[in-house]
C-alpha cells in the first residue's frame, strides 16, 4: 500500500515532478484550511453573548439575536408588537436569557423545539404543527424522487417518493428547504399553506457528479468513480461541421491529444491519451464502441449518432482492457431510444470552405529575379541561348506574353463546401426502445479532386422481454468514399508562374516546365480515376438476464461481428505522362468477431455497497488483401476496369508487402474481474485484474499476461464536517496504481521467415524467396505501470474541475534491436526498452455569470507531460539513427545547431572549411575544425511542452454563442518548405521565405546556390493558438415552435479554424507538409469553413 501512494520516490526527480508536487501541496493545504474553517462553525443555544442596544426596533433586535446567538427563530411578522423599541445591555449571558429579557412587556413567549428551533408564540398558545404536502419536479416537469425536504433550522426532514411527492408536518411559519444532489437548493417560507409544489433547477456544477458515465464493462455515477475517467464536453458533440468527431474533440479534453496530420477531406487524426507509452508499437488508444472493442476507423462513426465519449486515462480505468489498455481507452456510446412518443429529428448543416491560410509562391517578377540571382550565385554563365531569364523552353511563350499562371488558384476549388444531413426517428415504450438514423455527409475539399462522402445507417434496439430478460441490438453500416484523383499542392508551389498549364488542345500539359521532367503538372492527378472506399458493417447483439432469485445479479452477453471490406483502384495513363498505362486494383477485407460474457453483482449491506464484475471474452481477427497491378494497355479508354488486358500482370502488391499488409490472423482470449466497494459513498475502492492471451506472443513465453490495478477515492464533501457547507459542492481525492499492457506486435514476429521477391530468367519472371526476418520466440507484451493522483472539486455552485498528476513507467518495450549485419539480418524484435511519462491534466469548468437571462460558462483544459527514455537495448546506448536518447524524450530532433549564414568577408576556415558566403553556418560543437556528424545535438522535440483549450459559452435568452480556442506550445518539427535542397534553380519557391544575397546579408536564409549537403531539415517552432470554432445558436422558443406544430427547432452558424496565431512559416503548423514531388495525400491546406445548421424535431 505504501508503494502505491509513494511509488519509489515518484515526485523527486525532474522539474515536472517538482511542479506536480507543488500543485499537490497547494491542493492539500487548501483542503485542510477548509476543514479548519468548517470545524470553527458550531451551533448551540448555550451560546454566551454580549450586546448593548439602544432604542432598536423590536424586529431588528430579533434579527441581531439570531445572528449573534447563532439560533434560529421562528415567528410570523403579524404577531410582533408594532413600533416597540428595545434598549438592553447584556454581558456574557445565555442567548435564551437575553431573549427572555427582550420579550418582557410583550404578548410573546418562546418555546424550544427539538433543542434547536426556537419558536415565538403568543403567550399561552401552543406551537402548532401543520401538515404540508406537495410535488417536486425538475424544469421539464419530470418528478424528482429522493429530494430532501427539511425544516430550516431543524433536523426534521423527509424525502420525496417515486412520484416526487412529499408530506411533512412543520411548525407554522417555518421555512422548508428543498435539496437534491445536482440541483440548486431552495428555501421557501410555508406561511399558512398546506400545499407547496416546487420546481428544482439543475445546478450545473454539482449535477455532473451525479451523471452516470460509462466506465468500461458497465457504468458508474461520476461521484463513485475512482479512476481517471474524463467525459468529452457535450458541447463538442453537436453543432460542429466536422466529418470525424475527433476533429471536434481536438483540444477540448485534458490529456487527450488529437493531431490532424492533414486537413484533406476524410483523413483521420492521430489520437493519443496522455504521454507516449511506446516507441514502436501503437500509441493510439483502444476504441470501444457501445461496449465492444471497435475494429474500424473513426470515420465509420457518424458524429451525430454519438451520445457520449468517455476517455479512460489511468491504469485503474484501463487495466480492465489488459494488453490493449496502455495507451488509454476511448469509450464511445451511441444514442438509444427513450420511452415516449416517436420523435423524428432532422439535423443538417451546410456551408462553404476556404483556405484558412494561403502560402504564396513567388510571382513572375520574383521568380525571374530568383533565377538570375541563382545563376550569379552558382557562378554559372547562363548557357546560350538565354531563355529570357526563365529556365526552361516551355516557359518562354508565357513569359514573352506576360502571362502568369496562379498555380495555387488553379489547383483550388472555388465552390468547396461541406454538408451533412441526418434523419432519425427514436422513441419507445417501456418494453421496446428504438433509435434509427440515416446520414449523408459530403465534403468537397478546397483542392480540386479531393472529396469525402459518408453514407451511414444505424439501428439501435432494446427490448425488455420479461422483467428479468432484456435483449437488444446495435447495427450499423458506414460507407466511406474517398474516390477521385486529385491535384498536387506541392507541385503547385513549385511550378514556374510562366509554366504551360494547357496544351493547344486544352488538355493539361504534362511538363509545364519542359525540358524539366522532374516536375509535372500539378493538375494531372485530375485525370486519374481513383476508387477508394471502405465499408463497415457491424452487428452487435446483446442479452441481459437479471434472475430474480439472486437480487443484484446480472448476466450480460455481447456478440459482435464486423465485416470491413475496402477497395482501392486507380489508373495512370498517357494523359498523365505514363506512356504505357498502369492499373492497380486492391481489395481488402477484415473480419472480426468478439464474444463477451459479463457477470455482475450489485448489493448494498447497510452503508456498504459492492459491485462485482467478471468477464470472459474471446476475439478473433482475420485480415485478407488481394491486389492486382498491370501495365502496358493498348489505350487509356478502360482505365483499371479491364485490368486483365494489361500486357504485364502482377498479383500481390510490393507496397502492401512492404507495409506488412499481408493477410494475417490473430486471436485474443481474456478474463477480467473487478470489485467496486464503497462505504457510505465516502470511501471508495476499486480492484481489477485482467488476464489476456494473445496469439502473437512467442512460444518461449506465456501467451498470457495479467494486469492488476487498485484505486481508492475519498469523497470528502460527504463527510459530516463538509456536508452542510453550502459552498462545497464536491471534493474528492483519488489515487490509483496498476499495470496495463500493449500487445505491440503484429502477428508472426516470433517466427523466422523468408520474404518473397522476383527474379527473371531471359525475360521470364520467377518468384524467389530471400531471408526475411529472424524470429524471436520470446516476444511478449509491453507493460506500463502507472500511478495517478487526482482531486475533483466543485465550489460555490459555480466552479468545478479536476486536477490530476500521473507517472507511468513502461518496460519490455518492443524494439527492433539492431544486429551486426554479419548475421545476415539487420535487426530482431525484442522486449528491451523502458520509458517513463510524468504529466498533469487540469480541467476546470466555471459559471462566471448566471442571471435570469444571461449565463457565461467557461471550460478550461491544460495538460502537459514529460517523456523520458530510461533504457534502450541491452547496451544502454542512445540510438542516434532513430533519435532515441537515454534520459531524453521521444521525438528528439537531433541535428546540427544553426548559427546563421556565412557572410561575405567571414572566414570559415576555423570551423567550417570550404563554406561559401550564403552557406548555412553551423556550430562546430566538438571543436574539430569542421562540421561532421559528431556536431549534431538535440535542438528540440516534436512533443509539445504543454497544450490547452478554452471554451467560452455565452447564453442570452434563446441565443448562445460558443467560442473555442486551443493551443499547443513548445514543440518543433522539421519544415520542408524552407529546404529547396539542390533544386532552388529548378523550381519556384515560396514568396515569403526569401534567400540570402550578398546585399541583404540574411542570417536565416541560405543562398540559392546552397545545396544543403548536410541535409539540414530546418527544425522550426510549430507552436500555435487556434480559434477552432465559433458557433452562434438560436433556440426557437417552445411556444413559437409548438404553434408551428414542431417539437423543437434550433439553428446555428458555425465557423471553424477562423484564425491561427503562430510563428510557423508555411501552410499550417499542425498539419504535415512533406517535401518531395510524389503525389502526396498529406499536403493539403488547413481548411476554414462557415456553415449554417438546423436541428428540427417533429412531435
Amino acid at each position: 500500500m505504501k508503494k502505491f501512494l509513494f511509488h519509489s520516490g515518484v515526485f523527486s526527480r525532474a522539474i515536472t515532478q517538482q511542479r506536480l508536487l507543488l500543485m499537490f501541496k497547494w491542493a492539500f493545504f487548501f483542503i485542510f484550511a477548509l476543514c479548519l474553517k468548517v470545524s470553527a462553525k458550531g451551533y448551540s443555544q448555550d451560546n454566551k453573548i454580549s450586546l448593548e442596544i439602544k432604542n432598536m426596533e423590536f424586529r431588528k433586535v430579533l434579527t441581531l439575536l439570531q445572528k449573534k446567538g447563532k439560533i434560529h427563530l421562528l415567528y410570523s411578522n403579524e404577531m410582533l408588537p408594532v413600533g416597540k423599541e428595545i434598549s438592553l445591555t447584556a454581558r456574557d449571558e445565555g442567548v435564551l436569557e437575553v431573549l427572555q429579557k427582550v420579550l418582557v412587556n410583550t404578548d410573546l413567549q418562546y418555546q424550544v423545539l427539538n433543542e434547536e428551533l426556537v419558536v415565538l408564540t403568543l403567550r399561552g398558545a401552543e406551537v402548532r404543527n401543520m401538515p404540508v404536502k406537495g410535488r417536486i419536479t425538475d424544469e421539464k416537469g419530470q418528478p424528482l424522487s429522493g429530494v430532501t425536504v427539511g425544516v430550516e433550522g431543524s433536523k426534521t426532514a423527509v424525502t420525496t417518493n417515486a412520484n416526487g411527492e412529499y408530506e411533512i408536518s412543520v411548525p407554522e411559519n417555518s421555512r422548508l428547504v428543498f435539496s437534491y444532489v445536482g440541483y440548486i437548493r431552495q428555501s421557501i417560507s410555508v406561511g399558512q399553506r398546506s400545499s407547496l409544489d416546487v420546481v428544482l433547477v439543475v445546478n450545473p456544477i454539482s449535477s455532473s457528479l451525479n451523471d452516470v458515465i460509462v466506465v468500461g464493462y458497465g457504468t458508474q455515477k461520476r461521484s463513485d468513480v475512482t479512476g481517471s475517467v474524463v467525459s468529452v464536453p457535450q458541447s463538442r458533440l453537436s453543432e460542429l461541421p466536422v466529418t470525424n468527431v475527433m476533429d471536434a474533440v481536438e483540444g477540448s479534453v485534458a490529456g487527450f491529444t488529437v493531431t490532424q496530420n492533414s486537413s484533406a477531406p476524410g483523413t483521420t487524426a492521430t489520437l493519443q491519451v496522455r504521454g507516449l507509452n511506446s516507441i514502436n508499437a501503437s500509441t493510439t488508444p483502444l476504441i470501444v464502441l457501445d461496449g465492444v472493442p471497435f475494429p474500424g476507423s473513426t470515420n465509420d462513426i457518424n458524429p451525430n449518432d454519438i451520445a457520449s465519449i468517455e476517455i479512460l486515462k489511468d491504469a485503474s480505468a484501463t487495466a480492465i482492457y489488459g494488453t490493449r489498455g496502455s495507451s488509454g481507452v476511448l469509450l464511445i456510446t451511441t444514442k438509444r431510444g427513450r420511452t415516449g412518443k416517436p420523435v423524428i429529428r432532422y439535423n443538417a448543416y451546410a456551408g462553404p470552405e476556404y483556405f484558412s491560410h494561403t502560402f504564396k509562391p513567388m510571382d513572375g517578377a520574383q521568380y525571374v529575379e530568383k533565377n538570375i540571382i541563382y545563376n550569379e550565385q552558382r557562378g554559372v554563365t547562363p548557357p546560350q541561348p538565354v531563355y529570357d531569364s526563365v529556365i526552361n523552353l516551355a516557359e518562354v511563350p508565357n513569359f514573352r506574353a506576360g502571362h502568369q499562371v496562379d498555380w495555387i488558384k488553379e489547383v483550388s476549388r472555388a465552390d468547396a463546401s461541406i454538408q451533412s444531413h441526418n434523419l432519425n426517428v427514436s422513441g419507445g415504450t417501456n418494453d421496446v426502445k428504438y433509435y434509427i438514423n440515416g446520414e449523408y455527409t459530403k465534403d468537397n475539399g478546397i483542392l480540386k479532386g479531393y472529396q469525402y462522402r459518408r453514407v451511414s445507417l444505424r439501428s439501435n434496439l432494446d427490448v425488455n422481454l420479461t422483467p428479468w430478460l432484456t435483449i437488444g441490438s446495435t447495427l450499423f453500416y458506414a460507407n466511406n468514399n474517398y474516390d477521385g484523383g486529385h491535384v498536387n499542392l506541392t507541385l503547385a508551389g513549385q511550378m514556374s508562374p510562366y509554366g504551360q498549364e494547357y496544351n493547344a488542345d486544352g488538355t493539361y500539359d504534362i511538363y509545364p516546365m519542359y525540358t524539366q521532367l522532374l516536375y509535372m503538372n500539378p493538375l494531372l492527378g485530375l485525370y486519374e480515376p481513383v476508387i477508394n472506399r471502405s465499408n463497415n458493417l457491424t452487428g452487435t447483439g446483446y442479452l441481459e438476464v437479471k434472475p430474480a432469485i439472486i437480487k443484484g445479479l446480472k448476466y450480460h452477453l455481447n456478440a459482435s461481428y464486423s465485416d470491413l471490406p475496402g477497395r482501392y483502384d486507380y489508373y495512370t495513363g498517357r494523359n498523365m505522362g505514363d506512356l504505357i498505362g498502369h492499373a492497380y486494383a486492391q481489395n481488402t477485407e477484415t473480419q472480426n468477431w468478439i464474444l463477451e460474457n459479463i457477470l455482475s453483482y450489485t448489493r448494498d449491506f447497510g452503508q456498504h455497497h459492492i459491485d462485482l464484475t467478471a468477464l470472459y471474452s474471446a476475439q478473433h481477427d482475420n485480415f485478407f488483401v488481394t491486389s492486382l497491378a498491370a501495365n502496358t494497355f493498348i489505350n487509356d479508354q478502360l482505365g483499371f476496369n479491364n485490368i486483365n488486358a494489361g500486357q504485364v500482370q502482377s498479383a500481390g502488391n510490393m507496397d502492401a508487402l512492404n507495409n506488412n499488409a499481408e493477410p494475417s490472423q490473430y486471436a485474443l482470449l481474456s478474463q477480467m474481474g473487478r470489485l467496486n466497494y464503497s462505504y457510505a459513498g465516502k470511501y471508495l475502492l476499486t480492484l481489477t485484474a485482467r488476464r489476456d492471451g494473445y496469439s502473437g506472443f512467442g512460444a518461449l513465453t506465456s501467451k498470457y499476461g495479467t494486469f492488476p490495478s487498485v484505486a481508492a477515492a475519498w469523497n470528502i464533501a460527504k463527510e459530516d464536517f463538509l456536508k452542510n457547507v453550502s459552498f462545497v459542492n464536491a471534493l474528492k481525492l483519488r489515487a490509483s496504481y496498476g499495470t496495463t499492457g500493449n500487445s505491440a506486435i503484429t502477428p508472426y514476429q516470433t517466427i523466422t521467415t523468408l520474404g518473397v521477391t522476383q527474379y527473371v530468367y531471359d525475360g521470364t519472371t520467377a518468384t524467389g524467396t530471400v531471408a526475411g526476418s529472424l524470429g524471436n520466440a520470446g516476444l511478449k507484451w509491453e507493460s506500463t505501470t502507472g500511478t495517478n493522483i487526482g482531486i475533483d472539486f466543485g465550489l460555490f455552485n459555480r466552479i468545478d474541475g479536476t486536477v490530476e498528476g500521473y507517472l507511468t513507467k513502461t518496460s519490455d518495450l518492443l524494439l527492433s534491436r539492431n544486429l551486426p549485419m554479419i548475421t545476415g539480418y539487420s535487426s530482431i524484435l525484442d522486449n528491451i526498452g523502458k520509458l517513463q511519462n510524468t504529466g498533469m491534466d487540469v480541467s476546470i469548468h466555471s459559471i462566471n455569470v448566471r442571471t435570469k437571462n444571461f449565463t457565461w460558462e467557461t471550460n478550461l483544459t491544460y495538460s502537459f507531460f514529460h517523456n523520458k527514455i530510461t533504457q534502450l537495448y541491452g547496451n544502454n546506448q542512445s540510438d542516434t539513427g532513430n533519435s532515441w536518447f537515454l534520459g531524453k524524450s521521444l521525438g528528439a530532433i537531433y541535428t546540427y545547431k544553426l548559427l546563421g549564414v556565412w557572410q561575405v568577408g567571414q572566414n570559415p576556415a576555423a570551423s567550417q572549411p570550404g563554406a561559401q558566403p550564403g552557406d548555412l553556418k553551423f556550430a562546430d560543437l566538438n571543436k574539430s575544425g569542421s562540421i561532421t556528424a559528431a556536431d549534431r545535438t538535440i535542438v528540440g522535440y516534436t512533443v509539445p511542452k504543454w497544450t490547452g483549450g478554452i471554451i467560452n459559452t455565452f447564453t442570452y435568452r434563446d441565443f448562445s454563442l460558443r467560442i473555442f480556442i486551443s493551443t499547443t506550445q513548445g514543440a518543433m518539427k522539421n519544415n520542408p518548405i524552407l529546404n529547396p535542397a539542390d533544386q532552388a534553380g529548378a523550381i519556384n519557391l515560396p514568396a515569403s521565405v526569401g534567400y540570402w544575397t550578398a546585399a541583404n546579408q540574411s542570417n536565416t536564409r541560405s543562398s540559392l546556390a546552397y545545396t544543403n549537403p548536410l541535409g539540414y531539415a530546418y527544425p522550426s517552432k510549430d507552436g500555435y493558438t487556434r480559434i477552432r470554432d465559433v458557433t452562434l445558436n438560436y433556440h426557437v422558443p417552445a411556444r413559437i415552435v409548438n404553434s408551428w406544430g414542431l417539437g423543437s427547432l434550433s439553428c446555428y452558424l458555425s465557423g471553424r479554424n477562423l484564425h491561427t496565431f503562430t510563428k510557423w512559416t508555411g501552410w499550417d503548423p499542425e498539419t504535415n507538409y512533406n517535401g518531395g514531388t510524389s503525389v502526396n495525400y498529406d499536403n493539403y491546406p488547413q481548411v476554414a469553413s462557415y456553415v449554417f445548421g438546423v436541428n428540427i424535431s417533429l412531435k
Binding site: 548557357p383 432469485i549 452477453l557 490472423q665 516470433t750 524467396t769 551486426p820
Partner: protein, 534 residues
Amino acid sequence: MKTKFFLSILFMQALLFSCKKSFLAENLVSTYSPSNVLVDSLGFEAAMAGLQAQVRTQYTYAGDQGLIGCMYLGTDMANTIPSQSTAAMLPYFQYNTLTSTDPGALYYWGWAYQTINNANLIIQAAENPAVTATGAANKAYIDAEARFYRAYAYDFLVTLWGPVPLITVPLTVPKVNFTRAPVDSVNAQIVQDLTNSIATLPPVTGVRKEGRPNIAMAQQLLAEVSLRMSNPAVTQQLCQTIISSGNFSLINSRYGVNAGQPGDYYSDMFVYGNERRSQGNTEAIWVEEQDYNIPGGSTNSDQHRRMWVPGYYNVAGMVICDSLGGRGIGRMRLSRWIMYNLYDSNDMRNSIYNIHRVFYYNNPSSPLFGQQVIITGTDTLTQTSPYSTKWNNYQPTNLFGYGTIKDLIMMRLGETYLLLAEAQFLQGNPTGAAASINALRQRAYPGYPAYGQVQPSDITLDFILDERARELVAEENRRMTLVRTGTLLERVQRLGDTGATAITGMSAYNVLLPIPQEEIDLNEGAVLTQNSGY
C-alpha cells in the same frame, strides 16, 4: 423456469467457450519460412531465384544514389565534384572523410553478408540428409550454385576489407561475438566452395536457365582469386580452359538489335537487347539480367546511367534523346587520364559509339539547333563531359527513367584474356601475355596489326592495368582490381585527377575499407578489430 433458462444460457456459453487450446496458436497463413520452402525442388528453385535477386542488388541499389561511385571514384577511372556527390560518394575521393561510419562501406558489407546468409540457408538445406523430397543430384546442383555465390561474396569482402568474419551456417538465434578470420582461412573457404562448384556446375550451354551459374563463372572467379592468392599458374590453367572450351568467342562483327544502326561491334555488346548469350553475345560468361517492365526485371533502381551519363539536357537547347543515352545526371565523369590520355584514335573502344565526346544542340525549336554545344561556367562537365556509352539506356515510354534497366555484364571473355595475360606476366612469360592482349587488340583495332599490336617488351603490370581500363572502362569493379593488384595508391598518385575533381587525402591505409562502426558496436560479445588507420 427462469432459473432453468438462466442456467441453460450459462451452459451454452460454457460449451461455446470450451475453446480449443489451439485458439491462441500462431499459424502462418501468408508467410514463407525455411521450414516450408527449403524442402523440395520447387522450393530450392525459388530460393535460388531469391539468392540471384539478392546478388543483383550489389550494383543496382539506390538507397544512396551514388553507391556505385564507391567502386570507381578515388581510383584512376572516375572523378566528380562535391556538389554532384551523395553521402556515399564523397569519402571515396576526399579520403580524409572516409571513416568507419562511411555509408558506402556499410552498404556493401551488408550486401555481402546478406548474400552469404541466403547462400548458407540453401547450402545447409541442400547438404541436409533429412531433406529427401528432392534427389541427391538436384541437391548437389543447387549446392554448387549457392557455393559459387558465397565464394563471390567472400572474395568481394576479403579483397576490400582483408580479414573478415567467416560464417558458413545460417543463424537461428542472434549472435554478437564475431571475430575476423585470417585472410588465408577466408581464401581457403573460397577455394573450397569454387572447387566444389567447378566439379558440379554445367557448361554455359547446359545451365538450367539462362543466367544460372555455369562452370566458366566459377573458373573465372577462381582464376581471379588465384591471382590475388599469388597462384598465377592456376589462373593460367583456368583461363585457358575457358578460352579453349569452345563455348565463348570474342565479338568481332556487328550483331543484334542495332546491327543496322550506326555503331560498331564493340558497342553492340552494350546495347539493351544484345547483352546476354541468347541475344548473340558470345563473349558473355556471367550476365545479371535486368528487363524493362517485366516483374522481377529489376530489384531496385539501378543508377548506372545516372552516374555515368552527363545531364546534357540541362543545357538550354538540348533535350533527352536515345542516341545520347537517355537521362543521366552526370554524378561521375571519366578521369582526365581516361578522357584524354588512355586511348589512341584507332582504338574502336574509343570510337564515338563507345566514348561520346561532342554534343550538338538537338532541340529543333532552338535557334542553335545542329550547332556544337560549347558552354562555360564552373561545373559544365556535369552537363557535357566525355562519357562511356556502356550505360546508355533509353526507354521511350519512360523518359525520366529513374532506374537503368539493362543487363549487367559481370564477366566476359575479354576479361579472361586480361586475367590470362596477368598470370602469364607474373610467371615471367611476357610473350604469352602479349599474345593474350593482342587477342583483344586484334578485335579492337580494325587496322591490326598495323595499328594496336603490342610487343612482349611493352608488357608490365601497369600496361596490363591500362589495358584493363581500355577494355573494361565503366564495367569492371576498378577498385577491386587495383586493390587486388596492390596498385591503388600508386596509380591514384600518378594518374588521379587534380584541380576541381582532385582526389584528396588518400593514405596507404585507405586501400582497405573501414569495418562499419555499427558492426563493431553491435558486436558486443567480442572485439571486431578495425582496419588500421580508421
